[in-house]
Symmetry: C2
Subunit: 597 residues, 2 copies
């Protein structure tokens, strides 16, 4: 049975030694009093909750799944509800919410760390509060004062939960095709009618009400994405005193049978004249929903990170325990019938791959979360704009790169277990199945890649990208003078240069042939992800080298440095192939007639 | 629900146009009368059986799995038994077996094509007869005359089936640790006592008896792999007339709960003083078992090929039907609400990746199967030795490269389906789960890579490898003069040269540090696999170009050429990264202390 221990030391390293949270956030009025010990204490408590309360439910949830009852209600796996009660009693949903609605007002960065841990412990469970937080952010940004008053406190307390209702059976990526209808009522509210599919946490028994954020079309709305509006549709209509009132006409029609995340109720939701209210402006629903979608994309990246970490931890444990063959250099544990498999270079390759993806993913996603905090809190408009651009650029990379790497890590972990990895009881094949959805939902990783290259990089002629390039270049200039850093700075500088040229060449080709964008996007995103990781591993290596120079006896820094070296030696070379694949262009993809396939 | 149509045209292309089966096999006394029409007819019939009889059972088998009854017997999913009855009535188990025992004496190559189709249709089902054929080969090679008389006819007719009982809970890779005991009886037979795990097809209701090939230790046997003997242990002891007699003391203790291949009964098998007879010599059981293991490794490669093909077919169908977004170059199907997703370059990238892995895998595995036929049938000892070396070299590549690529293909296929791919009813997530085991069993792909680099390449100082190199070089020399072939020959020659140098450098490093072998093996195997695929795609492209020059109107050749070009443009570049990973050596893997992980 898998176990999980929150990687507090590495989290603290990223937060305090790399991102200097305390000093950075001191600049913001809201965080004058935020200090490192408080953050650490929160993380420690969250880690306990993750390991002790929800991790033990992970395999149960996978095995038993959710149940749709004859009355259409949905029951979550045994223990899920009680765990959720503990979660809201401890105030976790409020962590990064607005104090005006009962929130604790902590940085999103701390919330990101919380969700890393929840996802490591039990992704299917963590999706219930995770989506609620997305709904909170969307309503906080776009809700009317009345909507905020009625809904936000309930989401902050966790009594009520939220969902995102976008997909219909004939449209996922292409939301312009959606058919769900909204009809205005005389009192200013609307009735919503249509069927949504793949609705995570669509119905369940954790809270007392569920707020569905639903995309639908108003009568006479323009076709395509410009005719979509956003509505909030509660499962139970709220009374004026905030209590739960009449049942609304929205119901789970059926539960989907899925490859993984069985503990989450993925529902077909039928809206049959359900009452809702408009969020944001008419026909601008997609804009409003993008708040939730961007938050969800980072959230999915954190799911990837969580699974990478837990898969790593368990395969390390197994590799230390499992005795099989002798080291090629002669017995390492002669007193035992065979050596633990962690002596074998190829097993180490798999473990270090997982480890590097975990550490790189943590540094990356926390860095982006910090930038979102800066975007929200900075008093300097130019700084806010600059980080907003970076966040826009990096969000699709967080989503796709972390989840691709998480799937690879879960598979490497399974491979470490050999045949036992394929057996359900060991719990590692569940990581593979759970990790697989993260590459698909909230926009497939292919769509993320198109978003990155088409919308974020090429549409502003590389302006956002140059902001990232500047950060990397400044670091290269600063550290290039230190001989000890050459092992990192030289390849980083080389990749940065190649990437710049690659982007320019692609921009030229794309002007002549739009298919070049779609042909290049997926390998391009892989290269972009590596550029970020190479930059962050170099930053982390710098800190570790400094600590070693200061004669730190903490072996954490040795391990950090060795992981960075492994990353540069064994994972970064992926860029060589991906750059060639980008440069190979679109001809080999487009020349075959569809009926020749 | 997925469908499957045997890719007869491509199979025929490989068999007749690339491998020239008819003319090649005419040289062998056993195949004087073998002609292409006969082979094609067999394949057509096999394709029908696969599509019509066992493919419709694939999802049922996955959903319902096998059942262990209170009496310890195992029942396969509904329909499995009836399908097996049709299979043996049609004589399929006999296809490539010795006529002396009722076999039809056809080449193994034809059997390989049969198994490609069975695996596409239903891998879990195909494992029952697949393992039986492995048991047939092992007993045919190493059985006593009496064992052959009693057992082979039954395996050839399919009335009885077979298993391989190697793994114990504490040993899989490291069989030297196994503990199952064999005790001699006065009549020359043995009692076998011990517990084996992960036994595919361990117990079931398809045939009337099951022959377990069991590795065990005799009293006083040397420790390690040199003290292992092989026994055949029937579920029911045979009577002298060949009928089924008394129940033997071997029983399925439990069924494993697995990620996939649910339709196959993966059993814990308890041998409790079960009666068996020795196969081959005492303490040389691993040698005898290797016949079955090598056959099984090629068989697992064919499982990978089968899944690659069926995943490809279904994602193409979906990509033609699913309407989502417009082509970046403007509407391609303006009469529809959106374009079919097959217009999008990134969807084509995924489909062509699957297609290239399928076509390359078919060419490769059929080529190796043909070499095994030559090894068995050639009158020329030198030729036999030469192909035996090539088969030994290529077997781990077939096993690992095809199954890695199959898992990637199943995942690409799932990605084409978007959210629907994650839903069980569509049947494509099953391909991912089923494909995953192929990378693990019959020696993990990591073990295959060690076998390739350590045992097959370095231990004879590259002698076997030079035989492959010679074939590639001769082709390069022959085709290098044709300008039209330069797009293939130039990169192929470049890779061949790089690979030769890489191998020599590795050999030098390995002499100084054995860990260099384990550090390099997995990426080295990827490069080796690409060398073979690049060679074979160039051969296939040559045939297609020739046909085009001859003004063939068959668009099959256009598609073949375009697939080869796609392979060279988009997949072959993987070698750039893998070569860098090989060259990065072992230091970054070995320096971290085990307790720092």
């Amino acid at each position: 049975m898998p176990t999980y221990t929150a990687p507090l030391r590495d989290m603290q390293f990223v937060l305090h030694e790399m991102l200097n949270v305390e000093s950075t956030y001191k600049a913001f009025p809201a965080y004058q009093d935020l200090d490192a010990p408080t953050i650490n204490q929160i993380l420690e408590e969250a880690g306990k909750f993750a390991s002790e309360v929800i991790q033990p439910l992970n395999q149960i949830g996978d095995r038993d799944g959710c149940t749709r009852n004859p009355d259409g209600s949905v029951t979550t796996p045994a223990g899920f509800r009680a765990a959720y009660q503990s979660f809201i009693e401890a105030g976790w949903p409020a962590l990064a919410c607005d104090p005006a609605y009962g929130g604790q007002g902590l940085p999103l960065l701390v919330n990101a760390a919380l969700y890393e841990m929840l996802n490591s412990a039990n992704q299917a469970w963590a999706m219930y509060p995770g989506l609620s937080h997305g709904a909170y952010e969307c309503l906080h940004a776009h809700g009317t004062p009345e909507q905020k008053n009625v809904y936000l406190k309930k989401l902050v307390s966790g009594e009520w939960t939220g969902t995102m209702c976008l997909t219909e059976s004939h449209c996922g990526t292409d939301l312009g095709l959606l058919k769900t209808q909204a009809t205005p009522l005389p009192d200013g509210s609307y009735t919503i009618t249509g069927t949504k599919i793949f609705i995570s946490s669509g119905d369940h028994d954790l809270g007392t009400n569920i707020l569905h954020l639903v995309l639908a079309r108003l009568p006479g709305a323009p076709e395509g994405t410009k005719g979509i509006s956003l509505f909030v549709v509660p499962k139970f209509l709220p009374n004026t005193d905030g209590s739960v009132g009449a049942r609304n006409a929205v119901e789970c029609g059926s539960l989907e049978h899925k490859m993984g995340i069985h503990g989450n109720s993925t529902c077909v939701m039928n809206f049959d004249g359900a009452i809702g209210t408009l969020v944001g402006e008419q026909h601008k629903g997609l804009n409003a929903m993008f708040v939730m979608m961007n938050s969800a994309r980072l959230g999915v990246g954190m799911q990837g990170l969580g699974l990478t970490e837990v898969a790593y931890q368990n395969s390390v444990t197994y590799a230390r325990d499992r005795l099989q063959m002798r080291s090629l250099k002669g017995p390492k544990a002669p007193e035992k019938p065979a050596d633990p498999i962690i002596v074998h270079p190829d097993v180490r390759r798999m473990l270090l791959t997982q480890r590097a993806w975990a550490e790189g993913g943590r540094a990356f996603s926390y860095w982006v979360a910090q930038m979102i905090d800066v975007e929200i809190n900075s008093q300097d408009e130019k700084e806010r704009e600059a980080v907003a651009d970076l966040v826009a650029l990096l969000t699709p990379i967080v989503k796709a790169f972390l989840t691709d790497n998480a799937f690879a890590s879960a598979n490497e972990g399974m491979q470490v277990y050999g045949g036992h990895g394929y057996i359900a009881e060991w719990g590692v094949e569940q990581f593979v199945r759970d990790a697989r959805i993260n590459m698909i939902y909230e926009g497939t990783n292919g769509i993320q890649a198109l978003d990155l290259l088409g919308r974020k990089v090429l549409s502003d002629m590389g302006a956002k990208l140059r902001k990232l390039g500047k950060i990397v270049k400044e670091f290269i200039e600063e550290e290039g003078v230190h001989k000890q850093m050459a092992e990192f700075i030289d390849p980083l500088a080389d990749l940065a240069k190649q990437f710049e040229k690659l982007t320019m060449d692609l921009g030229m080709k794309a002007m002549m042939n739009r298919d070049e964008v779609g042909a290049a996007s997926v390998p391009y995103l892989r290269v972009a992800g590596h550029l970020v990781y190479a930059y962050l591993f170099a930053r982390m290596a710098k800190i570790a080298l400094t600590k070693q120079k200061q004669k730190s006896s903490d072996s954490f820094y040795d391990a950090k440095l060795l992981t960075a070296r492994f990353y540069y030696a064994k994972l970064l070379p992926e860029t060589a192939s991906q750059i060639l694949a980008v440069r190979a262009g679109s001809a080999s993809l487009m020349k075959m007639d569809a009926d020749l396939f």
